[in-house]
């Protein structure tokens, strides 16, 4: 499965950046005409001109702000598409039940956030940088075609300079890239490895190593920057020199002292307009150079997100027909890096309530997750009756109530019906009451139609468990996988749930991971995993 990262639909911010060039011309025109008024010695026209300049610069500021804001809007649209591909994979990933989600969360939230500057600023500015200088040159040409030609001509040595500087920068970076990649991660790695460093009393030796390494990173990075800054230096140089060339040309043209014939004779407003616009010619490229950091961050984030998408689990296995029992023979779950669960063997058939026991961390939850395809089964196999099936392939026959309960915005009835969307109201009500939600519903004026908000839902832990059980009942699925169905519940509530499970077990195959002695005592059989 590949993750497509969208780039399209972001023309609006580029257009705004191009408008910025036009707004610059507006200001330059107001400035040139005001100066003409000053030169002519008018009393009021300079004031009008100044007002026009102020209006133009306010327009320009608004356009620049608009360009930034439009960029973020476009980036947010693109990010939403990235998430639409990323989130489902996250929910389907085969992670260890114990593993912290920190790293995955950082990918899904922080790295996706890092795309904002890349899509919202760098990309639009890059597109605008191809067009905006030409817009400026065209506007300059209206006043002074020769000045416009001078600006365009500087592009030739500029391009050569950029190619040379860029090539040198790439060579300098390539020469250092391996050493830098090793050294620059060293600080973070040594902090991460502090426990083992401390366990051997090596912190002084490692601190000296960190000192050498960070010093070397600084020196090598500096060596790269010396060359890399030549690129931005080239932009700066041509930006400054194009202003100087236009200024000197216009001055000599106005004096009539040019040593060569030109097809134009300038007056002050036209010359001044050309001069005021000259710095704008290279401005888009300078902006692009300034947004380089956003490009680096964005590209790094894209790489991480792509890698994440590649690691993502395959689509669930082809579904098998209805099952009403599960057998596992010599199953081993291998998360890699030495984290293994098993081997274990167990079976649960219709009419049984099997309690799955074992100390915390022994892999009870992992086993249940494996059955529904959320943990990697590396050895052994699953079957029902005689028919073997792959983890996750029998999910349509399985009802699930885990330690965490999915709540979505909606009414209690909506949330119960998630398990069986087309069920009628009476069935939902029946399931709710059988699961013991009656007391809860009686206290809420809206009953089943009480609105719940997934965060700060106003449901207690016990009520959430019951809601999950109501879902299980409504789903009418023959195999039930329950993870600690009585944990965190008071004695009476736990007892009522155990009684319910005993009743259900006559018509279902129930596998319940539990520590609860009451539930273990009520079970048909107990399977201990170690």
């Amino acid at each position: 499965m590949t993750l497509t990262i969208p780039r399209r639909g972001a023309f609006a911010p580029s257009l705004w950046w191009i408008f910025d060039a036009a707004a610059a011309a507006l200001f330059a025109a107001a400035l040139a005409l005001s100066l003409k008024a000053v030169l002519a010695g008018y009393t009021y026209w300079p004031v009008v001109g100044a007002a026009a300049m102020i209006a133009a610069v306010l327009i320009r500021s608004a356009v620049q702000a608009r360009a930034e804001v439009a960029g973020v809007t476009a980036a947010n649209r693109a990010k939403s598409q990235v998430r639409a591909a990323l989130f489902p994979q996250l929910l389907r990933s085969r992670r260890s039940a114990r593993r912290l989600l920190g790293e995955e969360l950082a990918v899904a939230v922080d790295q996706v956030s890092a795309l904002t500057g890349y899509y919202g600023r760098f990309e639009p500015i890059k597109r605008a940088a191809a067009i905006a200088p030409l817009v400026i040159a065209a506007l300059v040409a209206l006043a002074s075609p020769v000045s416009a030609a001078i600006l365009i001509m500087t592009l030739i040595p500029f391009a050569l300079g950029m190619a040379l500087a860029g090539g040198a920068a790439r060579r300098a970076a390539d020469a250092q890239v391996a050493a830098l990649a090793r050294l620059s991660g060293l600080f973070v790695d040594r902090v991460r490895s502090l426990p083992i460093i401390l366990a051997f009393g090596a912190e002084d030796r490692v601190t000296r190593q960190v000192e050498t390494a960070t010093g070397e990173v600084a020196d090598r990075t500096y060596a790269v920057l010396k060359i890399a800054f030549l690129s931005s230096g080239t932009i700066e140089f041509f930006s400054a020199i194009s202003v100087a060339l236009v200024a000197v040309y216009c001055g000599f043209n106005l004096l009539g002292l040019l040593p060569f014939p030109v097809p134009e004779h300038l007056d002050l407003p036209r010359a001044f307009f050309a001069l005021a616009l000259a710095p704008e010619f290279y401005l888009p490229l300078r902006r692009l150079a300034a947004a380089y950091h956003e490009k680096q961050l964005g590209e790094a984030a894209e790489a991480v997100i792509r890698a994440r998408a590649v690691q993502a689990p395959p689509e669930p296995a082809r579904r098998v027909g209805p099952i009403d029992a599960i057998e596992i023979e010599d199953g081993v779950i291998d998360y890699g890096a030495g984290r293994k669960v098993g081997p274990f063997s167990l079976s649960v058939a219709c009419g049984e309530l099997v309690a799955l026991t074992g100390p915390t961390g022994s892999g009870k939850s992992s086993l249940l997750q494996m059955i529904v395809g959320l943990a990697p089964l590396s050895e052994g196999g699953l079957s029902a009756g005689r028919e073997a099936f792959l983890p996750g392939a029998a999910n349509a026959s399985i009802g699930w109530a885990g330690q965490h309960v999915v709540l979505l915005p909606g009414t209690i009835a909506d949330n119960i019906a998630l398990a069986h969307p087309n069920e009628d109201r009476a069935a939902i009500e029946g399931a709710a009451h059988r699961a013991g939600l009656g007391a809860l519903l009686a206290t809420r004026p809206a009953g089943l139609d009480t609105w719940i908000d997934p965060r700060g839902a106003g449901l207690s832990g016990g009520e959430r468990r019951r809601l999950a059980l109501a879902r299980v009942l409504l789903s009418r699925r023959p195999v039930l996988l329950l993870d600690e169905p009585t944990a965190d519940l008071d004695g009476a509530t736990a007892a009522s749930i155990v009684a319910l499970l005993q009743t259900l077990s006559t018509s279902h195959a129930i596998l319940a991971a539990t520590h609860d002695p009451v539930l273990i005592a009520a079970a048909t059989r107990t399977v201990a995993i170690a």
Partner: protein, 533 residues
């Protein structure tokens, strides 16, 4: 104790770079002055040339055009060179300063971790520390731009003053006003918006973590689409918070351009002394916008830099105390488990057995001083293990952890962790005992082979054996082996066990061994059985 705040550390780290920073500052000032002078002089030159040109050929020929034309070109070159050196030198100073700051912070982080005051060793904590230090770079890099902003402001005001008091006041009001307004708006608007953005990001992470924890339910009822769309709502709220923050930053960032434009308009309309000087004053004010923009960018970045410093402050504030160095005699070991007391004499070889999750690994890690949650009662020599502290425990115990815990570096880097002053012969002897010597000899760079982060370029079995060799080299009275033969084939396992036996016979070290496999258990002559749960 030498506790010091982050700013003191930063000052100390920056001290050797004072000259570089001063030169960067001067370059920043040069850039600002040259940028403004270039445009101002160009404006004056064109206008004066136009006046001379319209006055007739004689006037035109009398106009001294050589000096201004040459100066314009010189300013263009000065501006370029200034910009290059400003960037280069400020980066040089920042890189050097942060390199030394990283080293100091590493020492502090180690002290904090050792005393259990901070937990940075999780991958996330470590990269957060790294990112926060990176953010400080901004402060050093942007200092010349701030200096440049004030130099630019002064030059623009000076050139306006040439044309009169009112233009000077107008330009000063606009440019100073822009600086004041930016910092005021930054402080007033951004921290709150940044907090909301951070809170929305946490909300999204919490929602993701909650739904991911309920992945089983999502899988069986086929709720992925619905949950994803609910998550998208939460993510959209985060996007919205980011949008609001970006919008505020964009609005603030336009202030310098607007203020400089207004200043230019005021200068032009109120200037005395003729059109050429008016043009000069107006363009100087407009060009000052670029300098002020550098100041504004530094201001906008300031809240996140401040936040990064605040986060580093807790690491910086940790005092480094001298570790206890006195080495007690090799102690005996008493472990009390479910009523049974095991007294282990120095040199004992003990197998720890029991079902998964009964606390075998926790027992070993507690002895190594890495955690303190072993369910057993443990006495080392005369002291309860909890009183010993990491500094004394690690002189007694060398841990070969279940997860090998390798550092990014070479094979030698990893082995040298064990102890200072290890000789090459010892290294090969330990590698041979761990059945890794032949494989290391076959590597292109042998002991200097780069093995990647956490030994990523080695196989699982090789990583394990490298950890065994490291544990042996530590030469502590007690060796703690947690599943030393995991991931090995039977032949290698047998050689490893034989090697370990020979090593222990020679060294007289005691060993506590945890293994699910039978072969290594043959090393031991005592057994401690840990009960269920």
């Amino acid at each position: 104790m030498n506790a010091a705040g982050l700013s003191a550390l930063l000052t100390a780290s920056a001290a050797p770079w004072r000259r570089t920073r001063r030169l960067a500052l001067l370059s920043g000032i040069l850039v600002a002055v040259a940028t403004i002078a270039l445009l101002a002089l160009s404006g004056w030159f064109i206008t004066a040339a136009a006046i001379a040109g319209t006055a007739g050929p004689t006037m035109a020929r009398g106009f001294n055009y050589l000096v201004p034309a040459a100066t314009i070109r010189l300013l263009a070159i000065l501006r370029t060179a200034g910009r290059y050196f400003e960037r280069l030198l400020s980066h040089r100073a920042a890189l050097g300063t942060l390199a030394s700051l990283r080293t100091t912070l590493f020492g502090r982080a180690a002290a904090a971790e050792a005393s259990g005051r901070l937990r940075l060793s999780g991958g996330e904590g470590a990269s957060l520390l790294g990112r926060n230090v990176d953010q400080l770079e901004d402060r050093v890099i942007r200092a010349p731009q701030i200096a440049g902003a004030f130099a630019g402001l002064s030059v623009a005001v000076f050139l306006a003053a040439v044309t009169g008091v009112i233009p000077a006041l107008g330009v000063m009001l606009c440019l100073v006003g822009a600086c004041v307004m930016t910092s005021w708006l930054v402080r007033r608007m951004l921290p709150d918006l940044a907090r909301r953005e951070a809170a929305a990001s946490v909300d999204l992470k919490v929602a993701l973590a909650e739904y991911a924890a309920a992945a089983g339910e999502i899988a069986v009822y086929d709720l992925i689409a619905r949950v994803s769309s609910e998550l998208e709502h939460v993510a959209a709220r985060h996007d919205d918070a980011q949008f609001r923050l970006a919008r505020a930053e964009a609005a603030i960032a336009t202030i310098p351009t607007a203020a400089a434009g207004i200043a230019g308009a005021l200068a032009l309309a109120t200037a005395h002394g003729g059109a050429a000087l008016a043009a000069m004053a107006a363009l100087a004010a407009v060009a000052a916008g670029e300098s002020i923009a550098g100041y504004a960018r530094a201001q906008i970045r300031a809240p996140s830099v401040d936040e990064a410093s605040a986060r580093l402050e807790m690491v910086a504030a940790v005092g480094v105390s001298d570790p206890v160095l006195a080495l007690p005699a090799v102690p005996s070991l008493t472990i009390i488990t479910s009523g049974e007391t095991h007294r282990l004499m120095p040199g004992a070889r003990v197998a720890i057995v029991g079902p998964s999750g009964c606390g075998k690994t926790r027992l070993l890690a507690t002895l190594a001083g890495l955690r303190a949650d072993a369910p057993q009662e443990i006495v080392v020599g005369e002291h309860a293990v909890a009183e010993m502290g990491l500094y004394r425990l690690r002189q007694q115990f060398a841990l070969v952890p279940q997860d090998p815990m390798l550092i990014a570096g070479t094979i030698l880097d990893n082995l040298r962790l064990a102890r200072a002053g290890i000789g090459e012969n010892e290294i090969w002897e330990a590698l041979s005992t761990a059945c890794l010597d032949q494989e290391v000899r076959a590597l292109p760079d042998r002991l200097d082979q780069w093995i990647g982060e956490d030994g990523a370029q080695l196989s699982g079995g090789q990583r394990k054996r490298l950890a065994v060799a490291r544990g042996l080299l530590a030469a502590r009275p007690w060796l703690l082996l947690d599943e030393p033969s995991e991931g090995l084939d039977a032949g290698t396992e047998a050689r490893l066990v034989a090697g370990l036996r020979g090593w222990l016979d020679r060294s007289g070290q005691g060993v506590l061994l945890v293994s699910h496999r039978l072969a290594p258990l043959a090393l031991c002559n005592e057994v401690i059985r840990l009960g269920e749960g």
